[in-house]
């Protein structure tokens, strides 16, 4: 597999990204536990500190900027658990990343069936 090729709109989650994203993803992995979700909601900043996120990672989390989370090494599988805390589903997250409203994003999904 040629890892240097880029697919437009796709942020390949590979080894170096997993190294960069480790604290961020470890934090999101903890959200499998309800107590961890509650602890995060009670004090986000303390939770970033607990998992030793980089300053850039803290900022993209504060901004709820999903594309930037991916760029700082976030894996969508763990970020989805964070989205769950915020009450967002995968269509909401799709809209946030593509600049659509959730309804526009859903319509876009349906349209791809009309081939």
């Amino acid at each position: 597999m040629n890892h240097s090729l880029q697919i437009p709109g796709n942020i390949l989650f590979d080894g170096p990204m997993a190294t960069k994203g480790y604290p961020l993803n470890k934090m999101c992995f903890s959200f499998n536990q309800a107590e961890s979700r509650a602890e995060f909601l009670a004090d986000e900043e303390a939770y970033y500190e607990k998992f030793n996120l980089s300053e850039a990672q803290r900022q993209v989390m504060r901004d709820r900027d999903v594309i930037a989370m991916l760029e700082t090494g976030g894996s969508i599988y763990y970020l989805a658990k964070f989205a769950g805390i915020l009450g967002l589903n995968v269509q909401d997250v799709g809209g946030l990343q593509t600049g659509m409203t959730t309804e526009e994003f859903k319509a876009f999904l349906v349209k791809q069936g009309e081939v």
């Binding site: 697919i7 796709n10 599988y77």
Partner: protein, 286 residues
Amino acid sequence: MAHILGGIATSHIPAIGVAMDKGLEQAPYWKGFFDAYPPVRQWLYAQQPDIAVIFYNDHGLEFFHDRKPTFAIGAADKYENADEGWGIAEIPPVTGETQLSWHIINELIDNDFDITVCQEMKVDHGLTVPLTLMWPGHQYGHIKVIPIAINCERHPMPKPSRCYDLGKAIGEAIRSFSGDQNVVVFGTGGLSHQLDGQRAGFINKPFDLYCMEKIVDEPEVLTKLSNYDLVEKGGSQGVELNMWLAMRGTLQGASQLTELHRSYHLPISNTGAGLQLLATEEAVTN
């Protein structure tokens, strides 16, 4: 020897489980999707398999990057489900099996597959949603499950050809087992979807239909694809096709295959959802 009755490929999207919990199968959004399942359920009911070998991918419940296996196989009496972080209702534990598991593990290591062996593991929606789809009302306790998790999350991932070869080796192991259990194999996940990036929402219906066509009689064509190809053509989560290929591999040494079902519906959540059933000559035909 144990018998492989056939292989079933199905989507495993978490939203499916939520819809079933809420009784939404006949709601407009869901009807087209759920209406495909009764024929496959009826086939399973007629076959009465003892064991289900299920290829799935963990989505960050059991495995984290601290220790991320390429291939993990279960060898436990029981597998617990758990909260995955977004409030899916927990469901009854999945029944395990250890004798055939250890036989498969011995054969895989002997054939140079470097599997991680799990005597305790939590299984996520990738495995439980297909079980719930096949046995509604969580009535899957009677079937013994051997879970096999394939890394579909972090690159590098096992190549499509390697996943297919894993399936082939598992098929041979099952057929060489001294018991006479009846086994059905599941490939779960897919088909095309992409959750992350500016390309989120990408679905490729022509490619999905092509995969469902080729997997019946020409699976080797699909094994020539790289994971990069799968991401490009099927989206970043399109690599879940690897579980379908592993399932298909188990049928390779079997007698002639009969395709008893093929359907495709989109979108379910962000995904092109496929359902396919390939029966071997070992299956009861009536």
